[in-house]
């Protein structure tokens, strides 16, 4: 019997969403796909489409305006899926913690599997986080 599930690990397609981040982490995520770090060698594709994604890369401290959209995108990704929170703001709120217009991190709203710290996270950390996410994805 061929275990189809183990191929989840070999072709993770990434959906990237910015919940009000300063763009620092977003630039680092795009740097991961550049020739220097080349995430595509792991089979990673940056899709803009939740219906074809496996890994949900979220940046930003989750402003109130992004609430509904984050939930919509999360619910449109077909199972199995993993959520990776990239950057300090996304994990805990970071420097925006307890401000009037943000929730403290996205785990107040959706379940997060991997936390990648850093302000901004370096490409090495993000890649490490994605590889960690692949192990979790295989077990789901």
């Amino acid at each position: 019997m061929l275990h189809i599930k183990r191929f989840l690990k070999k072709s993770p397609w990434v959906l990237h969403y910015n919940t009000g981040s300063c763009n620092g982490c977003d630039i680092e995520i795009l740097a991961c796909l550049s020739p220097r770090y080349d995430l595509e060698r792991l089979g990673v594709l940056n899709t803009g489409n939740p219906k074809q994604a496996d890994i949900f890369l979220v940046t930003g401290p989750l402003t109130h305006r992004c609430h509904d959209r984050l939930l919509q995108l999360y619910s449109q990704i077909p199972d199995p899926k993993v959520v990776v929170a990239v950057g300090s703001c996304t994990c805990t709120g970071g420097v925006f913690k307890d401000m009037y217009n943000v929730n403290n991190g996205i785990d107040s709203l959706i379940p997060v599997d991997v936390y990648v710290p850093g302000c901004a996270s370096s490409p090495e950390l993000i890649m490490d986080g994605i590889v960690k996410a692949l192990e979790i994805l295989e077990g789901k």
Binding site: I4, K10, R41, L42, G43, G48, N49, Q52, P80
Partner: protein, 279 residues
């Protein structure tokens, strides 16, 4: 070619088409000085898509997509059985129309936009294919692929046909600069946007079949010289990958203008070249 061999070629077209697609991705990565994914990556993607949850937006959307895939596969079978070139072009047009209808059958604005643009790009490349089929008829006196492949090599008279086909290849395969109908950052893949899971695999595998369709057009230009035909295919494969990597997307109206001016123009030049200089 024996019937069994033709059948095998047609039946396994999505398999070796996938390997070509994998090679294409590695080649593009090497051009950007990246390592690139493994060659078997399209099959890993396929197996992954099988294990995802199935989403259907509405039944016609998926059914038209299945029609598109099956009729495209039938067109590939017709090519390997040495069928009529005109039937193959119109069969491919029919398959594309199924694809476009599938895009119109959902309410997503991106899908509708993608359908509109795909329709316009069909309007742009279809006359070029017809003109090129006429050129092939003028040179070989037949539309049957089996007879064209048995005829002696006459590539000198088909040089301009080859050049005009080079404009069609990126348009059919939706590659830069003629990828306005897909535009995966701008309209999130156009018609592909609403497909997920195993149904997206049909869209994905259809890309391999489209590849076989356009490159077999180039292959038959070399008629019975199969080595030269392979060379032409490899050359255009490299050229298309290079142009895809090094150019930006153009708007759909510029696409129409470019294809009518250069692609169709080269087709007309090709007819005059054959009539005045070669016969």
């Amino acid at each position: 070619m024996s019937i069994v061999f033709s059948f095998m070629l047609g039946f396994f077209a999505p398999i070796y088409g996938g390997i070509f697609y994998g090679i294409d991705r590695v080649l593009k990565a090497k051009m950007q000085r990246r390592k690139g994914p493994p060659v078997l990556q399209p099959f890993y993607d396929m197996l992954k898509l099988f294990s995802k949850t199935k989403f259907i937006v509405n039944a016609p959307h998926t059914i038209w997509m299945i029609f598109y895939f099956l009729s495209l596969w039938a067109v590939v079978f017709m090519i390997f059985f040495g069928g009529n070139l005109l039937y193959i072009i119109f069969g491919h047009l029919l398959a594309t129309v199924f694809f476009i209808i599938s895009g119109y059958s959902v309410n997503s604005i991106f899908s509708q936009l993608g359908s509109n643009r795909k329709l316009l790009s069909v309007v742009a490349y279809e006359p070029i294919l017809i003109v090129n089929a006429i050129c092939i008829y003028l040179v070989f006196g037949t539309f049957e692929i089996s007879e064209i492949l048995a005829a002696p090599n006459n590539f000198n008279s088909l040089v301009f046909t080859f050049l005009s086909l080079l404009f069609v290849v990126p348009t059919v395969l939706k590659l830069s600069p003629f990828d306005a109908s897909k535009a995966h950052q701008e309209i999130v893949g156009g018609i592909e946007v609403e497909f997920g899971g195993v149904f997206y695999e049909l869209v994905y595998a259809a890309k391999f079949l489209e590849m076989i369709f356009v490159y077999s057009f180039i292959f038959i230009l070399a008629s019975n010289d199969y080595i030269f035909g392979t060379f032409l295919v490899v050359f255009s494969f490299f050229a298309v990958a290079l142009v895809d990597n090094s150019t930006a997307r153009i708007k759909i109206d510029s696409l129409l203008k470019a294809l009518y001016m250069y692609g169709f123009g080269l087709g007309i030049v090709s007819i005059f070249w054959i009539l005045l200089c070669c016969i």
